[in-house]
């Protein structure tokens, strides 16, 4: 909070300082222009007041002195001369120095106390750290500060350029057709002209690519910006859990789009928490297994092609495929027969299934504990994919493949249901031709063999609920084989129209809850094409042979997310409510467990946050009651409590809660992160 106000103050100060500076310089040249004094006074006065508001005593003292000097000038008691103006400028410089240091979060390069004292006495303070630009005239400033918004706009504008260039290219093709249609003697000069134009467009293309690279570079930040906090997290967590761990980070300098990094952080926190609480064993157990006392967790990042690979690897107990299968069967994720058919590697991915992790152990240590399915969701949100590798007893490795940026994607353009769609190539395995005779039915669905593997076959237009045009007969159909985690599906499309680099445009707030779509792009002909969100297709495909998009389901996915906050303390209630509301959640509060049950029966909530100790039924009983009901069997529940014993956490888990936050450690970031991990 304080930080935000500080930032606001610094921005305000910049404006006032700029106008002070320019006003003073004019005054220096024309000392007679005392009319300027009034405005200068106002600047100094406002600065003083604002500085007081945010508790910056030094700035308020300096500006107070400046104000006094200006007042003296205004009523004619003080001469308006070079020396007096110099003094005022020095004051403004000092304030600028302090605010810019504040913005960077560093100590100012100025003995502030001494300056304030001397400034108050009207001494020039020659000794103070000289102005950087005066002291080092031959090393000009190499960096400038830029607003993130401006950078985003810059990237958007470059995107527009790319689209425009595509339109030019489309026109070149048209010109070729025009030339073909002409008689040879007219065609020749046109073809020559077209050739020259093509060269110009090629050069333009090169320039735009360079520009795009530079513009994107401005938005890139090194992994270091988020990994610094992680070391602390691992250290604290290890201590709490009684583990001995060596945490290594490799590739801190790898750069990624700022937007992506923001999405990556909660994922990494989750994976590291998992590695510590489920992976690394207690020192004695490690010793008994003949492993070094200290466990190792390695976080590494490296480039691979057009993407970044981020790995979290621990040398702990690994994942046990048999155990995972058994757990999945007992939790009703799949039946025994299906489980037997899975390879050990496939079994690992069962942990991503929603039903699997609802019952997964709640690790409260870092204040949150949510299932791997949520991690997967978060990775999908940043267009990444995840692979798992593990050997029982020796290691677990989670590899995230992430795009460098979300603003430009490589995509396959396909025609489907009379429209054009772009499919990000990260999800594309291959394009195949399918003959009707090659399609088998299995259960109630259709399948084909792709490189020997039985792959479910869907019609893309059917999945999207668009009009279907599937011709009878044995004409080969075009299908795209999509991959996501360990799954493959094949989707029939009308035609594929080639690969293209597409500029991603958001669909805006009217479509913020839309399903199946990640954004849109604008094609060479100026028309938009929708970019598919492939993970949504897999989800839609999973329910065997149901209506492609059931109306209720689409609705459920697209509502504004609703949270029920249950607590008998008004402070906690209000606090949680305002935190959540500020992030766009719809919040309803309940004052007791009974009240919560009543309210939850009236409308459907996406998440319940509950206290434990309340008059009437307690939070555990409430959770159990919710779990027992048809409507709330799957709804995530977060317990926020001042009880911090392991016994309480175990009880919360048994009752069916997904996360446990201890009130003592309660902060707004933690609550939000947990909520976002659970329901987005």
């Amino acid at each position: 909070m304080a930080n935000r106000y500080l930032e606001i103050f610094c921005r305000e100060a910049e404006e006032h300082l700029a106008s002070l500076q320019s006003g003073l310089l004019v005054l220096e040249k024309n000392p007679a222009r005392t009319d300027l004094l009034h405005e200068l006074l106002r600047n100094a006065h406002t600065l003083k007041g604002s500085a007081r508001m945010v508790g910056l005593a030094d700035i308020s003292a300096i500006t107070h002195t400046m104000e006094e000097q200006l007042k003296g000038m205004e009523c004619g008691e003080r001469k308006v001369d070079a020396q007096a103006i110099d003094l005022l400028l020095r004051g403004a410089d000092a304030v600028a120095l302090i605010t810019s240091a504040l913005l960077r979060g560093e100590a100012p390069e100025l003995d502030v106390e001494r300056f304030v004292a001397e400034y108050d006495r009207g001494e020039l303070g020659q000794h103070l750290t000289p102005e950087p630009r005066e002291a080092q005239p031959d090393t000009p400033q190499e960096t400038v500060r830029a607003d993130v918004k401006t950078l985003d706009q810059l990237v958007n504008l470059v995107g527009e350029l790319i689209i425009n260039k595509k339109r030019l290219e489309a026109k070149l093709d048209r010109l070729k057709e025009v030339a073909y249609a002409l008689p040879a003697e007219h065609a020749a000069p046109l073809t020559a002209f077209r050739g020259e134009l093509e060269e110009d467009v090629l050069y333009l293309d090169y320039l735009i690519q360079e520009l795009h690279g530079k513009a994107m570079g401005l938005r890139m930040l090194p992994l270091r910006t988020i990994s610094d906090g992680l070391e602390r997290l691992v250290r604290d967590l290890a201590q709490q859990l009684g583990r001995e761990v060596q945490f290594q980070i490799v590739g801190q300098a790898i750069e990624m789009d700022r937007v992506l990094l923001e999405g990556l952080k909660p994922i990494l926190i989750h994976l590291l928490t998992n590695a510590l609480s489920h992976g690394i064993e207690a020192p004695e157990a490690r010793a008994a297994a003949g492993k070094p006392h200290r466990g190792t967790i390695l976080l590494s990042a490296r480039h691979q092609g057009n993407s970044v690979l981020v790995e979290v690897r621990d040398d702990g107990r690994g994942m046990d495929p048999a155990g995972i299968k058994a757990a999945a069967v007992s939790r009703g994720v799949l039946d025994q027969r299906e489980a037997d058919g899975l390879s050990d590697e496939e079994a690992l991915y069962l942990t991503f299934r929603p039903g699997f992790s609802t019952a997964e152990i709640v690790t409260d240590v870092s204040g949150r504990g949510v299932g791997m399915d949520v991690v997967k969701k978060n990775i999908e949100r940043v267009k990444g994919s995840v692979t798992l590798a593990s050997q029982t007893g020796s290691f677990t490795q989670v590899t995230l493949q992430l795009p460098l940026t979300l603003s430009v994607l490589d995509a396959l353009i396909v025609a489907c249901g009379g429209e054009t769609f772009a499919i990000p190539t990260t999800y594309l395995q291959e394009i195949v031709k399918v003959r009707a005779s090659e399609i088998d039915t299995m259960g109630s669905g259709e399948v084909i063999k792709v490189r020997g593997a039985t792959t479910p076959l869907y019609s893309l237009s059917g999945m999207l609920g668009l009009t279907e045009r599937r011709e009878a007969g044995d004409l080969p159909l075009s299908a795209v084989v999509l991959k996501h985690c360990d799954q493959r599906i094949a989707c029939i499309v009308e035609a594929h129209l080639g690969y293209s680099e597409v500029v991603v445009k958001g669909l805006g707030r009217q479509f913020r809850n839309v399903r199946f779509l990640f954004g849109a792009t604008i094609l060479g002909d100026g028309n938009p094409a929708l970019i598919l969100n492939v993970p949504d297709l897999f989800e839609s495909g999973r329910g065997v042979q149901r209506a492609p998009v059931s109306a209720e389901e689409a609705q459920a996915a697209q509502r504004r997310l609703k949270v029920l906050v249950v607590d008998d303390s008004i402070t906690t209630r209000t606090m949680e409510q305002s935190i959540l509301v500020s992030q766009g959640y719809a919040v309803v509060t309940a004052v007791s467990g009974e009240d919560a049950l009543e309210k939850s029966a009236e409308e459907q909530f996406d998440l319940v946050i509950s206290d434990v100790e309340m008059p009437g039924i307690n939070g555990f009983e409430l959770t159990r009651a919710l779990r027992a009901s048809e409507r709330y069997r799957e709804t995530p529940v977060i317990i926020v409590s001042s009880l911090s014993r392991d016994e309480d956490k175990r009880q919360a888990l048994q009752a069916g809660a997904q996360a446990y936050i201890v009130k003592g450690a309660f902060d707004q970031g933690m609550l939000l992160e947990t909520v976002q991990m659970l329901i987005g």
Binding site: K505, F511, V514, N527, A554
Partner: protein
């Protein structure tokens, strides 16, 4: 304080009050004359909303259908690089939906949350509609859902319904999937 130098505070106050009311009345009578509205056809009838909601009126471009959204979102189009939705609000007003033909236009409007394009059968430009002919919606018009209608103007050549854009643009039915 200053009674002896000839000022009568009561007179001054009542004078000020009079001036105040006069100014207010002037303002009102000025505003009362006409309301600047964009007039267009929906379901064969004339409708209008205040011009300040309108960004621009364009011919209907190629609309790209969006899967898995309610039918009133008829598609998206490229509005100079911004992806914008084209919506058919006629069902919300309980109106028939004749084909949008060659005279069809998209009225791009801006609400608090987003800009969107309203499909209309025709647009008739900006007109100053006379307040004197305005009748508030209490009577209700047959076949119209009253919640989005503020009333109608009885003009010489027929009536023009004034839409409540505030309510219309805030309606969750416009947001994909929230209907």
């Amino acid at each position: 304080m200053g009674n002896d130098n000839g000022y009568d505070i009561r007179t001054i106050l009542s004078q000020m009050r009079e001036e105040y009311w006069q100014a207010l009345a002037e303002e009102e009578s000025e505003a009362k004359e006409t309301l600047e509205c964009l007039v267009f056809t929906l379901g064969g009838k004339r409708y209008a909303f205040e011009t300040h909601y309108a960004c621009e009126v364009i011919r209907v471009p190629k609309l790209v259908r969006v899967p898995a959204v309610q039918s009133l979102i008829r598609g998206i189009f490229n509005l100079r690089g911004e992806i914008t939705a084209a919506i058919d609000i006629r069902p919300m007003l309980g109106l028939p939906q004749p084909e949008i033909g060659a005279t069809g236009r998209i009225l791009v409007v801006r609400g608090d949350n987003f800009a969107t394009g309203i499909l209309a059968e025709a647009a008739h430009g900006v007109q100053g509609l006379c307040f004197e002919s305005f009748e508030p919606a209490a009577t209700g018009l047959p076949g119209t859902r009253a919640q989005f209608v503020r009333g109608h103007f009885n003009l010489e050549d027929g009536s023009v319904v004034l839409l409540d854009m505030e309510a219309l643009l805030a309606d969750p039915e416009l947001v994909a999937g929230e209907a």
